[in-house]
Symmetry: C2
Amino acid sequence: MSKVVVDISMSLDGYVAGPEVGPEQGLGVNGEAIHDWCVGPGRSPADEAILAEAFERSGAVVMGRNTFDVVDGPDGWNDEMGYGADVDPTHQPPVVVVTHAVPEAVRLVEQFHFATGGVADAVARARELCPRGKDVVVMGGASVIDQGLAAGLVDEMIVHVSPVLLGAGTRLFAAAGAVRLEQVGVLETRAATHVTYRVGPA
Amino acid sequence: MSKVVVDISMSLDGYVAGPEVGPEQGLGVNGEAIHDWCVGPGRSPADEAILAEAFERSGAVVMGRNTFDVVDGPDGWNDEMGYGADVDPTHQPPVVVVTHAVPEAVRLVEQFHFATGGVADAVARARELCPRGKDVVVMGGASVIDQGLAAGLVDEMIVHVSPVLLGAGTRLFAAAGAVRLEQVGVLETRAATHVTYRVGPA
């Protein structure tokens, strides 16, 4: 069965986005610093190898509705900018969106699926869409990740810890509860510390 | 002039102690998991080298009053258990405590000094007590570290990130504000990821 892997960048003080997040400012105020290692000037060949390996493993993606509204928006994903677009633009894994209501209009209609039964439903749908030998990747936002951790749905977690304190914004793990982790690998690049955890028994 | 170095262990979700901290439970409920790398069964020879190097650098220590009340309490520091006690029990650096009022009774009277003018006053006192070539170490708690960061008093920060989500407790960085950091080194041991940051201009 596919592994369910959380893959997320956060500031050292635990934020995945700065304050005032919205469709036109998906990362919030100063949120770019969190992603400097992957989309900013801090990106290095070692970071590119991490991105390429993560993309290679991805058989299906789970995201929340707010994240979807950003990536499917007019300034969102395209052939040059999106999940794995600069690694292999010909292959885009299916994405399952956790939402209360299926949106009326979808720009990237072939890529997106909608699950209205919560995070567990979305993960189950993503497993069905995921090719054998690949992972289901939970990419965020924070609320979907926290719900997945709290429900014991996550097998592994890769956290890219960026060297910045934001002081405000959207905090990861605020609703995940107490979770035991096993640290299974650490990679250092110039603009982040990339830590892989196995998620322990609840 | 001595460098001012924050040295602190935190859970991946940013807690330096679990809930219900008090003199008899200095790390709070489940807080031991945060310090498994240094005082628990997770401690390895690599962790011991990190501890020994940190202790070797320390010329003076700054701590908050709540931390003092734990370490000077009946179950607190002694020849076997305390700052650097298992590295070199013959040498204990002076400690400056940030407090509103000097305590009436002090058990470890030779080691402790009291600063009633806030964190800046405590750091200044610690600099005076710190031998040339050694560092002033701000060991916590979270409030003293946050105040030091917010006031621009910190030059360097070593954060030991432990593989656990606590979900509740005393959170580090909650009052530090936005701070730019430069990641200058990462060490992986079995029970923690040890990251050193240079603290950027405010």
